[in-house]
Symmetry: C2
Subunit: 430 residues, 2 copies
């Protein structure tokens, strides 16, 4: 049986999973595909650390270039993360005409356009199935399974750390900080969690999904990104009273006029929505296609073995391409129509607002008037007796309105002498 | 841009969807794939009926052979259903080296092995993505996305008609017959619904999934198949009281000793299980891979446009294969290890039992003794005051036991003088 040599860059969590997956299921994979992946060499900064998987020490090297250049390596699998060495090595492999499989979303989100050009120039492939959704083959589903569809919208829970924190906050009525510490203790959050909890990781993935759906590279700095750091247990509780759960969502949408919208923020989702029942570290992506209708793809969004599952799936594709001499089977950049980005202020959603208001006659009337001044109508109001000091919390759910209108209304409200602390605003997606 | 000619066999619901999908999204598909599918001819028994999509009458013919043989047709898309003409025409196309795309699960489940041999002999492809799951690209996910995994189990809701009926029975507390009539009136059930409600359609799909997962063609007559015809509203209600929903499930599993189990039957599923929140005509498939972990794939399992979405996705694959000169990219028969089938009596589940028992002292003790005689222990008992005539309904949930033990115990119970009408038994899957 034909064999292809695998060179691994990075020997951390996912790298270990790939080595173990190839070892454990190599025969099965070969029998399914008719070609066999063979691990040839591993490049890592720390070659001597014991990862608990049996690899001949001679295969492991601190010299990343030597792995890429190894003539017995046909496919380079980049699992280092980061953007420095990963970028240099990916460029090097592609320039030598070697296909690259990567799980590196930051690399793709920020340097994807360049890397795909480079792959095309050298008639080779870059596969990135594990960059979004971990063990969920969402990239394959979007690029191949739904190739016939205009993608109307994508809603994704793409970060397991955030979803774990939000699930625990809701279930245990705990504040953010306490749950974050717990998540760090359990290994579900990094020591420096900013990348996850501030929404950057989700935004990288949203950029990749938007690109697959609409063929446009949207610069990260043009994506509206809000994390979960400032969410309070009170809002999660009020949301629950109103029939919502709070999830950190990536929203990718195309409007009738062609404009594309990409945003990442906490959102209230109706409790009977499929995405509302995604708990803990799981991920899920809801895709609305013009033909397929609504589909939801759910699974483990990270972790050693799930991510390795998708990485090895990509290795399978690349091996078939090499075997058939048919690289560039899927265009890195799909349609690549020039698509306008939606002006952020034009995004339309319903809103959950929590205001701290002075408890005196006429207050609510002034608030509703302020909202009305900006064309915002109210769907429901929740006001309970107990207050915090001089102020009473009032929760308002609006009908759909534009981001811009909502911000202007909140600004007007902040200027009223009845308003206490900064109003809280959470968008609603249904 | 390179074009490939499409010949369509069958111009019913799905055929119309494919024609409309190619017309509406043809440019988008071509821009994504770099090749263009062009509809060349359509074979149908009724060429003159107006389907509401614009097709030049000259392209439509009652002569199916002429479509297959048309030299401008590169890819034959079989959407006739049934096993007679569909089988003849699929054989004819493959024998001419023309790749076939089909959505015909009956054809595949019963003649798959032959057709895949034929495709291999003539170095061409047969793609069948739409045979299971309609608009959910589950075939692609299993065959490509999860190629690195040993598949531990698959649980599927694969028939929209049954799931619609079960959803309505639960939500409206209606009996089966009334909901079936309603489903027929709404177009969600056929005039002759046997194929769906007796589980045959689901069994065909289960056979295809088992084959993808384990490389074995399991004859339909070796699959345990029970439909939903005899489900009573009472059991759905009792199930709800116990925290379960009733779903028609396909279960495909591999045991530690290597034996494969395939069964189709109504099952009680815990309400917080992902599959329990699949309502109405939607389908979902839960796949447990040894690396990927648990994944769920949800969407529209039938219908004109969702099925067309997947059919056109397959056309995309076939075009790429033709373009690259690399047919047979995926082996029709994966691993094809010789796998033993699990003896039906060995299948292990928990059970929901509803018995009609004489309301007199010691009755329950005799029942639990009968269960105990066969090694079955009881997890919970539900006995309410109101009875039907002389008999009281008693609901028992067992711990896990073998099919064989459960049947033997029910037989022993039927022989006791305390038992009324035939006991009801519904397996529990969690």
């Amino acid at each position: 049986m034909k064999e292809f040599g695998i060179g691994l860059l990075g020997f951390g969590t996912v790298g270990t999973g790939v080595v173990e997956g190839l070892r454990r299921n190599g025969d099965l994979i070969a029998s399914r595909l008719g070609v066999r992946p063979v691990l040839r060499s591993i490049g890592t900064r720390n070659p001597t650390r014991d990862r608990g998987v049996p690899v001949a020490p001679a295969k492991i090297s601190a010299n990343l270039e030597s792995v890429v250049d190894d003539p017995s390596v046909d496919i380079v699998v980049e699992l280092m993360g980061g953007k420095d060495a990963a970028l240099t090595m990916t460029r090097r492999a592609l320039a030598r005409g070697k296909p690259v499989v990567t799980a590196n979303k930051a690399l793709l989100a920020e340097h994807g356009a360049e890397l795909f050009r480079l792959a095309a120039e050298h008639n080779t492939d870059i596969y990135f199935g594990a960059s979004v959704g971990g063990g969920i083959p969402i990239i394959r589903v979007l690029r191949e399974g739904l190739v016939a569809n205009r993608i109307l919208s994508i809603h994704g829970i793409l970060n397991g750390t955030c979803n774990y924190i939000l699930t625990r906050m809701e279930q245990e009525h705990l504040p953010f900080d306490a749950v974050l510490r717990e998540a760090q203790d359990n290994g579900y959050a990094e020591a420096d969690p900013a990348f996850d909890i501030d929404g950057i990781d989700t935004a990288h993935k949203a950029v990749i999904l938007a690109w697959l759906a609409y063929g446009v590279h949207i610069p990260l700095n043009q994506v509206l990104v809000e994390g979960i750091r400032n969410l309070s247990a009170a809002d999660i509780r009020y949301g629950a009273d109103l029939g919502y759960r709070v999830k950190l969502l990536a929203v990718v949408k195309r409007h009738d006029d062609g404009a594309v919208e990409v945003r990442v923020h906490p959102a209230m989702v109706p409790r009977d929505h499929m995405l509302a029942s995604v708990h803990g570290v799981f991920n899920a992506i809801m895709v609305q296609g013009d033909l397929s209708g609504r589909g939801v793809f759910y699974g483990r969004g990270a972790g050693r073995e799930p991510t390795a599952s998708t990485v090895i799936g990509d290795i399978g594709d690349v091996m078939k391409n090499l075997l058939g001499g048919s690289a560039r089977r899927f265009r890195a950049t799909p349609g690549a129509e020039s698509v306008p980005l939606l002006d952020r202020g034009q995004a339309r959603t319903r809103h959950y607002l929590r205001l701290a208001l002075r408890d005196r006659p006429g207050t609510l009337a002034r608030i509703t008037a302020a909202l009305g001044n900006h064309g915002i109508s109210i769907a429901s109001v929740l006001q309970q007796e107990q207050g915090t000091g001089d102020h009473v919390p009032v929760v308002i759910v609006t009908h759909e309105c534009r981001e811009r209108e909502c911000q202007a209304a909140l600004q007007e409200i902040a200027g009223l002498d009845v308003a206490g602390s900064e109003p809280v605003r959470i968008r609603i997606e249904e």
